[in-house]
Symmetry: C2
Subunit: 257 residues, 2 copies
């Protein structure tokens, strides 16, 4: 079971969009996929048509009381495909605070995932735009990181900070996390800036950068408003094809390398 934290502390770089749509694309290709929404803003949950404010239990319940709310008890199936969601919730914000004094607070998600080991082919963890306790749980709970990057100037500054955090975690908690891949997102073809920065990213990360690029496509925002993954909402949209292509690249490589 491949557990992939989708992480980038910069806001609005398509972490959530990538979880929803890569997850859906892999499910359509016959894989069983679990998505975990670790963001108090619950965008992933809303974007898949699940109204978190009506839920009694969600992933925050699991983090605060794993015996009372194991992952299996909070999972929703999405649109009758092999895509499953452990929903986010505003109360995840309380989690950051409540978990702070608890020893082993970084392992809550990891421990909860052991109970579903082998149930899914892929697990994607949608992290919030910060490097706090929630994102730490995402990283510690995963075997690999997928980093979506919008090719702009501070992409690199952000990557150094993220790298340092992972190195610290690896040392202090003695965990091992690989880089699954770097995904260029929100790419606008005719923009010189994107081309320049994308080039630098490929130089720095080499074969770790997915060949597939996710191009800017307003259909993604429409799909999110409809509460559906783009691959179901509009399979012919360029963005749907990009995410299907990314799924193919991942399945072909076994892992991005």
């Amino acid at each position: 079971m491949k557990i992939i934290a989708v992480v980038n502390q910069k806001g609005g770089v398509a972490k959530t969009t990538t979880c929803a749509n890569l997850g859906a694309a892999l499910a359509i290709r016959g894989k069983k996929v679990l998505l975990i929404d670790l963001d108090p803003q619950a965008n992933l949950t809303m974007g898949l048509g699940v109204e978190w404010y009506h839920l009694e239990k969600a992933i925050h319940s699991t983090l605060l009381d794993p015996d009372q709310a194991p992952i299996a008890s909070i999972v929703h199936q999405i649109d009758e495909i092999n895509l499953f969601l452990a929903p986010g919730h505003l109360d995840l914000a309380k989690c950051e605070r409540l978990l702070l004094p608890a020893p082993g607070r970084e392992y809550r998600l990891r421990n909860a995932l052991e109970a579903v080991d082998g149930v899914y082919d892929y697990v994607f963890i949608d992290c919030p735009p910060s490097l706090g306790t929630l994102t730490t749980n995402g990283i510690v709970g995963s075997s690999d990181l997928l980093i979506p990057i919008e090719p702009k100037f501070y992409a690199f500054a952000g990557m150094s900070t993220l790298n340092e955090m992972i190195a610290d975690l690896a040392k202090s908690l003695r965990i091992h996390v690989d880089l699954f891949g770097v995904l260029l997102t929100m790419y606008e073809r005719n923009t010189r800036l994107h081309g320049m920065v994308a080039e630098e990213i490929r130089e720095r990360f080499g074969g770790k950068v997915f060949r597939t690029i996710i191009y800017k496509n307003v259909k993604l925002s429409e799909a999110e408003g409809e509460g559906k993954p783009i691959v179901l909402y509009d399979p012919r949209a360029p963005a749907a094809q990009n995410y299907m292509e990314l799924a193919e690249e991942i399945l072909a490589n076994g892992r991005q390398n």
Copy 2:
């Protein structure tokens, strides 16, 4: 002295871009402007050409030890205009954690700002994409909120959450914060979605929505890479004109109402 927190917990909606460029535009129009970078990612600081990693003291020093690092001691002037910056720093992330047990932790910035009362015409506080201790300090430290919104489907969901947080703060800390205005950002003219959501935003917030719209313009990302406000980097760029126009609207109205 008008102290305005620029806030929206959603990532990548141009909070930082608005602080830098509205601040610079007002400075060019003769106002004395202080910008405060409350984000551990320090994008505002980098985007104005200040390398936070070389600084001994920054705004985190002020929050942790106001006597040792008053605001006046950390301020940098930007590009020789009447624009001043209290820089951000990665160590702001530690602040969230270190301040958590401290009583009155929400007032740190407010208290520090009292020492520069009347020194500036406008103070803009750039908040991170979250509703934690740093953003709380920004809101409690301000008299008004400016909310940049990218007109997409979850703009409203986000606004409800933000409103609830402010209502809670107002009640528990007995503070009063007005809505300075809602700013439509990253707006793409030929996008039907933006038009639809912008319409709904105007219906909901009425006269609080600035008449000025900030249209999508890649020049903003170029300016950020050069470490300059767009109004200095390329005054003829459409985005520079948008932000000058916004400054005029604010000066004409006294306050957005």
